[in-house]
């Protein structure tokens, strides 16, 4: 018999250690052995360029087989015999294309990143739990479970996703799981709700209450209203100007009586919000009276973060009673923006302020809080945050009647000034947005549309609607709280129950328009109403895009699809157009040299366009930035100053200055020489511009670089430094990392004709040719004709060519 040698232990141990090392993530290096294995590793995530074959889905859980056809751009066209099977198939195919994305977003929303990525995400997770996304999603799910139609759709969708997950082996698992070394977990209705809440958070998360409270105290009522008025410059409200009695509360912001230095510490440092208030959208509808075809045209382009995998996924969903095409959000059922044979709809963010902070009086031991002079028991709960390779973290979250206390003695977050304040946010209320979209998908006429949006609560959206019978409409829909004057613009006094909510503005009083005489409706995150609306509200509105769209829609009477493309791609910043003549008038030509004079003369002919090859846009941008900096310099002394007054506020100050020469700065009352500021800013701008010009980047497109980032922020999976036209304030609202995330134009008629494109591709798989194949065309302003099939036979015939 042979003897076992002890020396064999040495190579054995080396091998075991090596396997262990190559099996797990070490610092930022992914598990290399798993990842580079040719049989199941990263290389197997590659997809060849062949056209996708028709899928006949016969999974367990389906009532009948579902056919899924793919067109040339890999858009699935789902044909099911019933709505449950349709949502099942939607879940299945979405998981096949985007599983990691939807799983990751739901985990990020729930505050579970430490569980998959480790302790470095603990702060992020704690913040997510404390602002209450997970508990809000759970509350909403409870509400949704009472609505049989929505519950059926969500449940079928979940089953579809899980049917796909069950079939996955390691080889086909999305690459991100392999790199971050974790596994997809079973999908659930809660995860679907979390994705919707995450969108609500993105769209309504911005607030500047703390900063504005400081500014109000520092500037005083009068100066505050000069610098931060609710209405400034020209507006095109969603519901048009009604010319009724002006509501003084909407015009002048009174300083709340409690807001003084006893209430708030004077030197509170405020960090800018991590949310982007400029995320916006455009959408408009034109009735047949203004189109060549005599049928209405509807356009919608939501501006969201530019990310890979793309935010949207295109598809057609059909079953008896439904035939809808558009974009869906991976992780949620139904089409969110789209059209069917009869109607089309678009959405833009309402941009209202629905997020408030109440400063509480809490005992040092966090046991009691004061309300109306009485001390009451402060509720608390403990949440478990699981961590990868570490024991769970337990966080205590306190809760006042207004909402959770996000920042406290144990958690400073990035907003120390909000310590011991309760967050009241519409996102926390149970809501069922899915029902609206499920109903919109099969709506046939205006009454169906109204019924679909009637219970839509959060985030407040502007719905635009067009029907082939030539009805057009717009509605600023959602739960908008009834408020006292100025309520919500500043930190609220949490010790008074009077400031707790007093219900909502009635649905039939919400701003809206039906078949206006202008024959068009539009929204671009502008004020929903004029100053004559009887209820007080406030928000973070943008007016410039709406004004420009209105100008363009009013200028024509026979629109076709090409005209609409031109409007969506319009690169004019109307503010620049308004400001330029005024600024040019204030330049002191005598103090300019020859080259600066030459620049001025070319600017004279500029039309405010931020086109790719425009050579003036960059110079104007620098010029205006310098003027702003000089004008608002003294506001920088406030540690709570985070947001410059609106550009139109400054423009109006220049316009209305005494004799066109001076304006008085609000704090020191210093007399500023306008001509000196504007001329100095120009000279400085020309110098900066020439510095850039020598590197040949003075064309706007060459300077204006955008990044389309992978959700994990891994550069290797992103598309960066793409030269682009457009400007955040132009209708083509492209910015460094956000922009038109879906451009759609639908011309209704006997058969809808539609065009669209989004920055990305259908597949979320980095190894797929469909990962980012639309991106280049998107930056060039191209559109794809959308293949809307009227019948299954048509789908079959056209996809199997």
């Amino acid at each position: 018999m042979k003897k076992i040698k002890i020396s064999f232990l040495f190579p054995l141990m080396s091998m075991i250690l090596l396997i262990a090392a190559l099996s797990q993530q070490l610092f930022s290096i992914p598990p290399m052995g798993k990842l580079l294995n040719p049989f199941s590793g990263a290389v197997r995530n590659g997809e060849s360029k062949q056209k996708r074959n028709t899928i006949k889905l016969e999974e367990e859980g389906l009532k009948a087989a579902v056919n899924i056809y793919f067109d040339q751009r890999s858009v699935p066209h789902i044909y099911a015999k019933g709505s449950d099977d349709m949502y099942f198939a939607q879940g299945y195919i979405t998981a096949q294309f985007r599983l990691w994305q939807m799983d990751f977003i739901s985990d990020a929303a729930a505050g579970r990143l430490s569980e998959i990525l480790g302790n470095r995400f603990l702060e992020y997770d704690r913040n997510q739990r404390r602002i209450g996304i997970l508990s809000a999603a759970k509350a909403s799910l409870k509400m949704i479970e009472k609505d049989s139609e929505t519950l059926a759709a969500l449940t079928a969708y979940t089953k579809g996703v899980n049917a796909y997950i069950k079939k996955l082996d390691y080889k086909n698992t999305p690459l991100e799981y392999k790199i971050m070394d974790y596994k997809p977990e079973e999908w659930s209705n809660l995860k679907t709700v979390l994705i919707m809440k995450n969108l609500t958070s993105t769209l309504t998360g911005y607030d500047d209450d703390l900063s504005m409270s400081g500014m109000m105290m520092a500037l005083g009522e009068e100066n505050f209203n000069k610098l931060y008025p609710s209405y400034f410059g020209p507006i095109t409200p969603v519901m048009g100007e009604q010319k009724k009695v002006i509501n003084p509360d909407l015009v002048f912001t009174k300083k709340p009586d409690y807001l003084n230095f006893g209430f708030m510490a004077a030197g509170t440092m405020v960090n800018p919000s991590t949310y982007n208030p400029k995320l916006g959208s455009n959408s408009w509808a034109v009735s047949g009276n203004k189109t060549k075809s005599g049928f209405p045209i509807l356009c919608s382009d939501p501006h969201l973060n530019l990310s890979l995998p793309a935010i949207w996924m295109e598809m057609q969903l059909t079953c008896p009673g439904t035939n809808v095409y558009g974009v869906s959000i991976p992780g949620t059922p139904a089409v969110i923006i789209g059209f069917n044979e009869d109607i089309a709809w678009g959405i833009t963010n309402g941009a209202d302020d629905v997020k408030d902070w109440y400063k509480l009086k809490i005992t040092n031991d966090y046991k009691k809080y004061e309300m109306d002079g009485k001390w009451k028991k402060l509720e608390s709960s403990v949440v478990e945050i699981k961590r990868k390779n570490q024991p769970s973290f337990y966080d205590t979250i306190y809760r006042a009647p207004q909402g959770p206390v996000v920042y406290d003695k144990n958690f400073a977050g990035n907003q120390g000034g909000l310590k011991n304040s309760a967050l009241k946010w519409e996102l926390h209320r149970p809501s069922n947005e899915f029902s609206t979209f499920i109903k919109l998908n099969k709506a046939k006429r205006y009454s169906d549309y109204k019924n679909a949006i009637a219970n839509f609560s959060s985030p407040i959206q502007n719905f635009t609607f067009a029907c082939k019978d030539n009805t057009i409409a717009i509605n600023h829909q959602g739960k908008l709280a009834r408020r006292e004057a100025a309520e919500g613009r500043f930190i609220l006094d949490g010790t008074r129950s009077r400031l707790l909510q007093r219900g909502y503005i009635p649905v039939d009083s919400l701003p809206g328009l039906l078949n206006p005489s202008s024959n068009y409706v539009l929204s671009a995150n502008q004020h929903p109403t004029g100053k004559d609306y009887p209820y007080y509200y406030s928000g973070y509105y943008s007016e410039i895009r709406a004004n420009r769209i209105q100008q363009l829609l009013a200028s024509h009477n026979d629109f076709d699809i090409k005209d609409m493309e031109a409007i969506q791609l319009d690169n004019v910043n109307k503010f620049s157009l308004d400001a330029l003549p005024l600024l040019l008038n204030h330049v002191d030509l005598r103090s300019l040299n020859k080259e600066q004079l030459h620049k001025i003369s070319t600017l004279h002919n500029w039309k405010g366009t931020y086109d790719f090859n425009d050579v003036n846009a960059l110079l104007f941008e620098f010029w205006w930035k310098n003027i702003k900096e000089a004008a608002w310099e003294e506001l920088k002394i406030f540690p709570f100053y985070t947001k410059a007054p609106d550009d139109y506020v400054l423009l109006n100050m220049i316009k209305n200055s005494p004799e066109g020469k001076y304006f008085y700065t609000p704090i020191s009352g210093k007399r500023e020489n306008i001509t000196a500021i504007i001329t100095g800013a120009l000279i400085k701008a020309v110098t900066t511009y020439n510095g850039i010009k020598s590197t040949d980047n003075s064309k706007w497109g060459a300077y204006n670089k955008i990044n389309v980032m992978h959700l994990s922020n891994i550069d290797a999976f992103s598309r960066m430094n793409i030269s682009s036209s457009g400007h955040p304030e132009a209708v083509n609202a492209i910015s460094k990392n956000w922009g038109p995330s879906w451009r759609m134009i639908v011309a209704l008629g006997d058969r809808p004709k539609a065009y669209g494109i989004y920055p990305g591709g259908q597949s979320g798989n980095i190894g797929s040719p469909n990962y980012d194949d639309f991106l280049t065309d998107w930056t060039k302003g191209k559109y794809y004709e959308l293949n809307f099939y009227m019948s299954q036979e048509e789908a079959q015939k056209n996809t199997n060519k």
Binding site: L18, I19, L22, G33, L36, F39, R44, D715, S768
Partner: protein
């Protein structure tokens, strides 16, 4: 032909077949292939073939992992490995060599470990091990 050379070739071929078979039959865990290779090492040892087990194992694993990755990278043309190379900041050919290296070292080690499990008395007297 030299008998030694033939034995070496047979060892390589069987190792490669084992690497393929284990990958096809069992996907999880990713390192499963070391077990059959380990057993094959024991057998080679008992056959008393004069084979440099680590080098031969290394060569088999290196070839299979390198060409496996090259093959799928080409056939699926997904450019996934380009992205992975970017992710870990290495040129792609270095990444390819790295895959070969991982496959090679593990296969080499497992074949060698299998081979050194039992003591073998060399009949030719080239090496003298104590026998019981």
């Amino acid at each position: 032909m030299n008998k030694n050379l033939i034995n070496n070739l047979i060892t390589i071929c069987i190792s490669i077949v084992l690497l393929f078979l284990s990958a096809i039959l069992i996907e999880n865990p990713w390192w499963f292939f070391v077990i059959p290779v380990f057993i094959w090492g024991i057998i080679v040892n008992r056959l008393r073939w004069k084979v440099s087990l680590f080098s031969i194992g290394f060569l088999s694993g290196f070839l299979v992992w390198l060409f496996g990755n090259i093959y799928f990278d080409f056939v699926l043309d997904g450019h996934v490995l380009n992205r992975i190379a970017m992710l870990i900041s290495l040129p792609k050919f270095v990444l390819m060599l790295l895959t070969g290296l991982i496959g090679g070292i593990l296969t080499g080690l497992s074949l060698f470990t299998g081979g050194s499990l039992f003591e073998v008395r060399e009949l030719n007297g080239l090496k003298k091990y104590d026998a019981i």
